[in-house]
Amino acid sequence: MNRTIFKNARLLDPAAGLDVSGAMLIEGARIADIGPNVFVDAVQDDVHVVDCKGLCLAPGIVDMRVSTGEPGNEHIETLATAAQAAVAGGVTTFACLPNTDPIVDDVAVLEFVERLGRDVGLVNIHSYAAATKGLQGKVMTELGLLHEAGAAGFTDGGKAIAHAGVMRRLLAYAKLFDTMIVQHPELPELVGSGVMNEGETATRLGLPGIPAVAEVMMVERDLRLLDLTGGRLHFSCLSTRDAIEAVRQAKARGLSVTADTAPPYFALTESEVVGYRTFAKLSPPLRTEDDRRAVIEGIADGTIDAIVSAHTPGDRDQKRLPFGQADFGGVGLETLLSVSLELVHNGDVPMLTVLKALTETPAELLKFPAGRLRKGHLADFILFDPDRAVRIDRDELRGKSRNTPFDERPVQGRVERTYRAGNLVFDIETAPAPERRRFPDA
């Protein structure tokens, strides 16, 4: 059996509270040993030795929220191109939203997508199933059958489950399978035709706003329902101070609620929209500086459990438009770790807490056997340099669409190598340079 030892690494495993210098031994696809003393005990003649030269060795990132165009809109992103972006960003497992064409709302489509994901091979690809048929918010899908077929959880993707009665029944019924209902919390009636955060900036730009209260009200409503029904509820992409506070209080009351956010919400504010930059048109919209600080506080104290990429590719036909007409969303797989490390560099959140939100917690929430460096587990891990200064350049992204809100942002931290099941799937030194296709901003 192939044995490789990764020596001279800074081992980071939030699940074990591990942050030490040491080594990790893998045998075939699995981790054989890990720790500060592994090198001394394990090196033998038949062991291939990789000197990590002090790089951080951490579990592969588990991304809970990825949109791709496949099936149905492969010109925007395929599972294969998303996987290439993922490994370049240190993501070894991701869960796709069901808003494809056809929508993943029955077992046949779910199995089809899972098979497509397996065929890609580069990363572990799973899929959520739609919570309601056709994402229409009216009739629940076959939760039991879909769960049995491997659905990571249930969500209507970027659409809120708006009907309170439907949400109540979903939460109650999903309890049977101990699976998560993932909500995109935005009250549609208050979102209306809004395209950015409501406030002075929107007023100056003459753009219809989305009030922060649209998120808060949906969160508060759903927490009431969760109180009533039990079950597991997860809010995605929290972006406002009051919504985060509502979740914080619900957790203190013992409700089974979890939440995630995405880098734009702790790294950017609504001012990015000035100049009508459609790459900064996201859902939920970028908020105020006060909200951004609240998101960081939420990550630091664990109110926000996970950090997701919210990868939402869009091609030029969707983005090179007047702001009001452009689609929502930005890509994020490749920049997920680099931007998240800003939290560490700025002294806002400890390294292990950030990594926990990127690895262990999302894996636990989705019940994936990933996100930790434990003996016997699959060797899905990354080597990264947390101090390497790079500038994000949309032309160097590896996904098919390059609509990043972080274009030209200087960041610190770069993924050097990504391993999945012990195999090297990305190496910054040898990976072919992405084709430079200039994607005009809008």
Binding site: E198, A202, L207, P211, P322
Partner: protein, 327 residues
Amino acid sequence: MTSSQPSPQSDAPALRLQHLLGIEGLSRPDIEALLDLSDRYVDLNRRAEKKMSSLRGRTIINLFFEDSTRTRTSFELAGKRLGADVLNMSVGTSSVKKGETLIDTAVTLNAMHPDVLTIRHGDSGAVHLLAQKVNCGVINAGDGSHEHPTQALLDALTIRRRKGDITGLTVAICGDVAHSRVARSNIHLLSIMGARVRIVAPPTLIPAGLDRLGVEIHHDMRTGLADCDIVMMLRLQNERMQASYIPSVREYYKLFGLDHEKLAVAKPDALVMHPGPMNRGVEIDSDVADDIERSLIREQVEMGVAVRMACLEVLAQSQLEPWAKNQ
């Protein structure tokens, strides 16, 4: 004035603008220079011989993605009086591919080497997007709910000619501010020029954060109009009525429609303005709209041509500057 006569711009302060996309970002000297130049064109327009040759050989394209008769005609007249070749294009926006049409149209027109494009579009920011795709000067002739800079300039010119100075005046802008590009441009311009700006509208028609633009907000015409010098009415956008911003037109007229009774609380010499087209009996009573003592509405239209002549001239001349071509 004939082509042999000196251009009204000849002794005007030098002003260079690559584009005129909004009032926000302009300086007071920029605005004053444009108004000074416009003033001279007012005189020209009142003469029998109105044609000049200062833009002879230049091409101006009016690209309107939204219907507008008065603004387009005003720009067309302005361009022709300066001797330019003026082309009008109306582009429908009903297709889902309207964005593609937008960029494609800009690129196509750019290849024909116009000197100035005047653009109206129903989406805020669309004119900014187009300006990035062309090499010529671009004038925003109204974009969504964002800005309508030449309207604000013509309003300012109208006020300045009647009142002498804008500084220190109290101006009440009344009505559907939420959807009004005219209101935004006027708020910026009047504030830059030192006027005190009040907004009078029901809360549903006031966008969030408006108070942070330095305006006073009133929900009652009697307090909002008290002792003001200028009452600027806005068109109630009837197409928005479905969204229930107000309960009914009848109620709106009673509470916010301008009639002589409400106007009575303003200064005795207060003047009334409206960017048109008016909804008579909705936001304004015909008696007020047609009152030659109080209403400046027809004068605004006249000033519009002069202001647009000034803007076209400044932009067309700026395109000759090497710095502009290299932007």
